[in-house]
Amino acid sequence: MNLLAVDGHDKIRYRRLKARIFQSTCCGLVWMCVALLAVLLFHVASEGFAYLNLDFLTNNTSYKPEKAGIHAALLGTLWLVVTTAVISIPTGVAAAIYLEEFAKKNRINTFIEVNVANLAGVPSIVFGMLGLAIFSRLFGLKNWVIAGALTMSLLILPVIITAAREAIRAVPNSIRLAAYAIGASKWQTVAAHVLPAALPGIVTGVILSMSRAIGETAPLITIGVPVFILHAPGGLNESFTALPMQIYSWAAMPQKEFHGLAAAGIIVLLTVLLLMNATAVFIRQRAQRKLKW
């Protein structure tokens, strides 16, 4: 009896030790990630800060580093991201609603589902080649903003659809049943109850996918988006360039001044990304607060 108690006590101590080791390992890994990010940000900031000024934002690129700026690329990226969002978010959410709420379980729909899941893992260059063949050449959209946005939309649609489907599936079925019970139609149920409840999850998916769209270069290079351009786009049917392409081209130059400019470009890109994500988080928080169940 006595022996058993001591044994049990040891076991508990051993389990607690295991738990503590696990906890500290996880904690350590988190801090490692944070430290890596901090090093990266510090490195970029220390190299690029000197180049960051108003001229950098209002000038276009130049072969003279002291004159070079990011104006056309910044506006190009904004045009690209906004157009991509306008195309992909409604399409993606609509597709998710259809697949989750309306589609019957049959072979065609299963086929579509499997394909959407697989597309999320396809390398971006493949979407670039698709965009070049279909949007740039077949539809004659060349290397315009609209061609870039449609290509980017293809790239991020699978992510949006998958995230939105997960979010819609997580809405408790009792909500739908309650709506039907008081005589709501399917459309009313989805629009007034399921969608608002799923909004926070959908927004998370949108954040992830838009962050991907803003940082991609490969599909843009493939559809022939120029790196050197001396004007910002004024419409969907104009050539443009984007921030990551400008950064890439500066980073590949031999002169050190351009590497500093690339770092400054990264700071601008990160700022745009943070502003975008902050807006999305704000929307998500508000949506969550509205839920009363």
């Binding site: 493939t222 022939g224 120029p226 351009i229 001396l230 590949a252 050190k256």
Partner: protein, 333 residues
């Protein structure tokens, strides 16, 4: 019911796309579209920038999807000018002929492929073309420094070079190993020359090669290796040795190809003229080396006469450009 839903949604999608297509045309501004080699990109974009100062109405777009990617677009008539770090290939020319695209080949500058070693490496005084061949070719016999010269340390040579897709790689293989030979594949390859610079600078027994501009910007981190060709004295690359042709066979010309159809448009004519007038000055400002002056004059004549076809594809690596162009001009007369 199912069919009609499908038809309706398809029609909706198509009309949305069509809405995106309409409203083409860019008003009164003319535009010149350029794509191709990332090696030529710094020169072409710098010239486009200067040209924009005198002609604000022409909008010039320069992309860099690589020499091959540029020719792929050029040969089906999608772009006006193709930047190229090597002459057009037969396959590519065939596509151009099929699509009725003529081209005018214009050399615009020199790039001197520079062979470099680590700063700490004090034993290498020069390397011969033969030695480079034995070091780099797949069936070569030199794998450590002591294989090259017995007095050098018995350490493996760590190799750094551009990726196989780059024009620099192609030219090096042709000039050093020769047509038909193959390069060894066990070297650290990277498309970004800055990565190669860092690699060689951090590896004591390394050997690497890349464009002259990347050596010129990193002289404090690297030691240049003079190259000895045949019985001549070893020559190190510099603005003057590359320009006057003594740094052979590793000086290579880089090109622009102008479509004959585009060359009928006044803005393209003006731009190409401006290019040839300023190529010498601008190429040096961005780290490349100017061609001998007469070459630019001869190119201008060729451009105005509309002489199509390539004269550089069949030329051997290291051929004197001036003589080559004289010979071509004489043949034409």
């Amino acid at each position: 019911m199912r069919i009609s839903t499908l038809a309706l949604s398809t029609a909706l999608c198509l009309s949305l796309l069509a809405a995106g297509c309409t409203g083409g045309g860019k008003g009164s501004t003319a535009s010149i579209n350029i794509d191709g080699s990332s090696t030529v990109f710094p020169i072409t974009s710098a010239i486009a920038e200067e040209y924009n100062e005198i002609d604000k109405n022409t909008q010039i777009n320069v992309a860099f999807s690589g020499t091959g990617g540029g020719f792929a677009k050029f040969c089906i008539g999608e772009i006006d000018i193709s930047d190229a770090s090597r002459p057009i290939k037969e396959k590519e020319e065939k596509v151009a002929v099929e699509n009725n695209i003529g081209f005018i080949e214009i050399p615009v500058a020199f790039d001197g492929i520079s062979v470099v070693v680590n700063k700490k490496n004090s034993f290498v005084d020069f390397l011969t073309v033969q030695e480079l061949k034995q070091i780099w070719s797949a069936d070569g016999t030199m794998r450590s420094w002591s294989d090259v010269r017995p007095s050098w340390p018995n350490q493996t040579i760590e190799l750094y070079g551009p990726g196989t897709a780059s024009g620099t790689f192609d030219y090096f293989v042709e000039a050093i190993i020769g047509k038909g030979g193959s390069m060894r594949s066990d070297f650290s390859a990277n498309e970004d020359d800055n990565v190669l610079v860092t690699g060689v600078a951090g590896d004591e027994f390394s050997l690497g090669f890349f464009g002259f501009a990347y050596y010129a910007e990193n002289k404090d981190k690297l030691t240049i290796v003079p190259v000895k060709d045949g019985n001549r004295d070893p020559v190190a690359p510099s603005m003057s040795t590359i320009n006057n042709g003594t740094y052979a066979p590793l000086s290579r010309p880089i090109f622009i190809y102008v479509s004959t159809e585009s060359a009928k448009r006044p803005e393209v004519i003006n731009f190409v003229e401006f290019y040839l007038d300023n190529a010498a000055k601008i190429s040096e400002a961005v780290g490349y080396v100017a061609l001998p002056k007469p070459v630019y004059t001869m190119s201008k004549e060729r451009f105005h006469a509309g002489v199509t076809g390539t004269i550089f594809r069949s030329a051997e690596a290291g051929t004197d450009i001036e003589q080559l162009m004289h010979a071509a001009a004489a043949k034409a007369d």
